[in-house]
C-alpha cells in the first residue's frame, strides 16, 4: 500500500447488524464485478469481507467499512478498510492463527480472510479499537 496506490471511488457503510453484513457483501460483489474480477476472485473477496464484517460486529461492537476502487501502476483492485472502536486485539499474532477464537466461532475468519486477500493489515491495541485493511488486485 505504497504512495503509488490511488483510491478512485470510495463509499462507506455501517457495520452494526447481520443485515449490514449482507449489504457489505453485495457492495463488495458490485465493486469487484465492476473492476472486472473473475467470478472466483469476486467470491473470494466477498467471503473475506463477510468474515471481517462479522468480526467487526461480534468483537468490535460494530463499526464501519470503507470500500474503494484502487489503482497502482499497471493494476486495479478493491480495498476494504474496516474500523471499529471496540476493545481491540491484545495479541494480533494469536488472532491470525487458524482455529484460535474468543467468540465461540471456528477461528477461521482472520487467517482465512488473509488467505483470500492479496494484502492484509491489522492495526489494533487494547482499548484502541481495530482497523483491518484488505486489498485484492484484479488478476491479469
Amino acid at each position: 500500500m505504497g504512495a503509488a496506490v490511488q483510491a478512485e471511488r470510495s463509499s462507506t457503510l455501517e457495520v452494526r447488524t447481520s443485515e449490514d453484513v449482507v449489504r457489505v457483501r453485495q457492495e463488495v460483489r458490485n465493486r469487484t464485478a465492476a473492476v472486472g474480477f473473475s467470478l472466483v476472485d469476486q467470491t473470494k473477496f466477498v467471503t473475506a469481507a463477510s468474515e471481517i464484517a462479522r468480526n467487526t460486529i461480534d468483537h468490535g461492537e460494530g463499526g464501519t467499512v470503507r470500500i474503494e476502487v484502487v489503482a497502482a501502476p499497471g493494476k486495479k483492485g478493491v480495498r476494504l478498510v474496516f474500523e471499529d472502536q471496540g476493545p481491540g486485539i491484545a495479541d494480533i499474532k494469536l488472532a491470525m492463527q487458524d482455529g484460535y477464537t474468543t467468540g465461540g466461532g471456528l477461528g477461521m475468519g482472520m487467517p482465512g480472510s488473509k488467505r483470500l486477500s492479496n494484502e492484509f493489515y491489522v492495526e489494533s491495541a487494547p482499548g484502541k479499537g481495530t482497523k483491518v485493511t484488505l486489498v485484492r488486485w484484479k488478476s491479469t
Binding site: S18, V22, V40, Q42, T43, V46, T47, S50, G109, R115
Partner: protein, 130 residues
C-alpha cells in the same frame, strides 16, 4: 418475518436456500429444521445451495451444525449444488464442512440420501467425512 421454506418429500426434508442469508436467518433455519425433523420423523435432510454465491464460515458452521443435529435425530444430511467458485473459496478459507455429505445435484442427492437411510454406514465414497 422472512423464512426459508422446508418441504417434506417422502422420507426427506428438502430445503432450497434462494437468498443471501443474514446470520439470524441462518440460525432460524437451523432451529426450524431441527424442530421439523422431530415433528415429521423425517430420515433425511437435503439442502440445495445452488443459488448461494457465497458460503462463509458462519454458513459453513450452520451446515455442519444441521448435519450434526440431524445425525443425533437419526437423519442423514446431504448438501447439493455447490457452485465451483464457492467450493474453491471454501477450501482456501480453510473450512472442511465436517460430517456433511455432498452431491452434485438434487437427483444425485436424493439417491445418496436414500442409500444412506437404508445403509447408514455404506455411504462412504460419495464425499463427506463421518
Amino acid at each position: 418475518m422472512e423464512q426459508i421454506p422446508i418441504l417434506k418429500v417422502g422420507r426427506c426434508l428438502l430445503v432450497s436456500i434462494q437468498i443471501d442469508m443474514h446470520d439470524k436467518l441462518a440460525m432460524a433455519l437451523q432451529d426450524d429444521l431441527t424442530q421439523k425433523l422431530v415433528d415429521t420423523r423425517a430420515r433425511g435432510v437435503l439442502i440445495d445451495i445452488s443459488a448461494l454465491d457465497l458460503v462463509d464460515s458462519f454458513i459453513g458452521r450452520m451446515l455442519s451444525n444441521i448435519a450434526a443435529m440431524a445425525r443425533v435425530l437419526d437423519a442423514q444430511t446431504v448438501v447439493v449444488g455447490m457452485r465451483p467458485q464457492v467450493a474453491i473459496t471454501l477450501v482456501e478459507l480453510g473450512l472442511t464442512l465436517t460430517g456433511i455429505h455432498t452431491a452434485l445435484d438434487v437427483d444425485k442427492g436424493l439417491a445418496l440420501i436414500n442409500r444412506l437411510i437404508d445403509d447408514p454406514d455404506g455411504g462412504s465414497g460419495a464425499g463427506g467425512a463421518q
